[in-house]
């Protein structure tokens, strides 16, 4: 099962998630990572640079991450404590923009969405229709090199607004804000978990096991591996079953020919 990666910036944002998702500290060099069977959590530190560097390193260290959810606080015009999804993330400094693809789903639909502008220093010029944060653009910069914009999302909890300024934020209030937003965060995580793990059906999993076993038994090059993977997949699609292969003492070239013959023997029939 592929894991979802939550990225926070501050310890106060992390703490409620550790409790709610039963996450344990994990050994990862130079990264503050917590993990469970379903989730990874990276606490990247504040600011765009930390976010980009941490996200990039995280995706190198854990290449099978299914999706990323950035959780944190942000300033805006919405009421304090409101959870808001990002439908556009903009880097204020460079003008770069990303458009997360929000799935057509009741959970996502039930939450408001706004533009999130990532700024390099705290700002108090609140504007309608826009939230300020300090990490989202860094996360999108790094993550979009590995994942699609369907797999990178951002949920922010409003921590300051024109009525309750930035000076009212402290560790205690941030913990309370994230704790209160946990139902929304959990719902989003459930949808992402469902969307990005359902693609692995039983046959493709069985095919992956066959390929792994096969590659352990035969001498092969990187190109052999690529071709054999393709042929085994093609066989599964065309024949509707895992190929039965006698690999004892056989070369990769021999197995390749066997698979090609077996594939050719199955007709393409539309019924």
């Amino acid at each position: 099962m592929k894991r979802l990666c939550i990225i926070t910036a501050l310890p106060a944002e992390t703490r409620p998630l550790l409790d709610a998702l039963s996450l344990q500290q994990s050994n990862a060099r130079h990264l503050r990572v917590y993990a469970s069977e379903r989730f990874l959590l990276l606490e990247c530190g504040p600011g765009k640079m930390n976010a980009a560097a941490g996200t990039g390193a995280m995706l190198q260290a854990y290449p099978d991450i299914a999706a990323i959810l950035n959780v944190g606080i942000a300033g805006g015009c919405q009421p304090i404590g409101q959870s808001v999804l990002a439908h556009q993330v903009r880097d204020h400094a460079s003008g770069a923009r990303w458009y997360p693809h929000l799935p057509d789903n009741n959970t996502f639909r039930s939450l408001p969405s706004q533009n999130i502008t990532t700024i390099d220093a705290p700002d108090t010029h609140y504007r309608q229709g826009e939230l300020f944060d300090m990490e989202a653009a860094g996360i999108f910069t790094a993550a979009s090199r590995h994942l699609s914009t369907s797999q990178i999302h951002c949920i922010k909890v409003v921590s300051d607004n024109p009525e309750h300024g930035i000076e009212t934020i402290n560790k205690r209030t941030v913990i309370a804000l994230i704790e209160n937003a946990m139902p929304d965060i959990n719902s989003i995580l459930d949808v992402l978990h469902h969307n990005f793990n359902e693609e692995h059906n039983a046959v493709s999993v069985e095919g992956d096991v066959l390929i792994s076993n096969l590659l352990q038994q035969i001498h092969h090059t990187v190109n052999d591996e690529r071709i054999l993977r393709k042929l085994i997949h093609q066989h599964i699609v065309k024949a509707g079953e895992i190929p039965r292969l006698d690999t004892q003492g056989k070369s990769s070239a021999h197995i390749r020919k066997t698979l090609q013959s077996s594939i050719a023997a199955h007709p393409v029939i539309y019924e």
């Binding site: 929000l102 969405s113 533009n115 914009t149 369907s150 797999q151 969307n195």
Partner: protein, 327 residues
Amino acid sequence: MDTLYIEDAVANHPRTLTLRSRYPKARIVSIEHYGDVFNAPAQNFKHQKASPALILAKKPGKRVLPTPPGYHIGGENNYYFSHMLNCVYDCRYCFLQGMYQSAHYVVFINSEDFFADMDRTVREHNDDVWFFSGYDCDSLALDPITGFVDECLSFFDSQPQAHLELRTKSTQIRPLLKRAAINNAVVAFSLSPEPIVSAEEHGTPSLSKRLEALKKLQDAGWKIGLRFDPLLYADNFNEIYGAMFDQVFATLNMSDVHSVSLGVFRLPKAFHKKLVRLYPDAKLLNAPIAARDGMMSYPEDVEETMRNFCMQRLQQHIGDHQFFPCT
């Protein structure tokens, strides 16, 4: 539709306001240019296809373009236009999934500019000019939302020198049936055998529904066209294509069909590669497909056998003047 991306340039256009009112609960995201969303890197076509957004934009630059060589149904001057980009259907062989990064639908709001360009193009020629719709989208499928076809037909009704082909798989023919047929428009349906519709043309109306729509149009006096394109390889090709032709001939008055065309499956190499990546389990990929002249296609002898079978069946029911094999 869950999300509407709206270009600032068309935010207050009456068509935008009408479209917005159809989706009162949709997220509205303001954008500067549709390409910022549509051509952005790191998009997942397959995920977007499951819940596409609508992008409302203004089409700048050239809106009417010459068709590729061989793309015609008898006319000398041939152009195409795309009032939309992308299709509501999910056909495995479709080149759009290879051509675009995104599965979102772009609707160009400035129809009036399209008609002005077509008007200008007609004036540049002394004889008839053909305009093809449905190259980058299905001409009718999203019409209940865009309402483009009705405006388009009114334009062509006033331009006897201009001819229109609406290419579709959709049975949304209400805008056509509610008005009198015009002589310079052809409604052309792409047709495939039912087993291929089920396996490869996801979300499309069945062959029977398409034929039913064609019959209604024919009865109402509209010129209809049949597009057997793409022909897909199958070991039971003769059986399934034979059954389809039987159904077509039994339903339609073939002597009244305006035009029939055939085209065998082929895709540019890069598009084929993307198809393999997106849908490795697509049945059509199991056919003998190889690179030839920069395209991925069936071996020449296979293509010829497929084409010959179809031509033989068709020639029993249509005249040479109705047949355009290479479009």
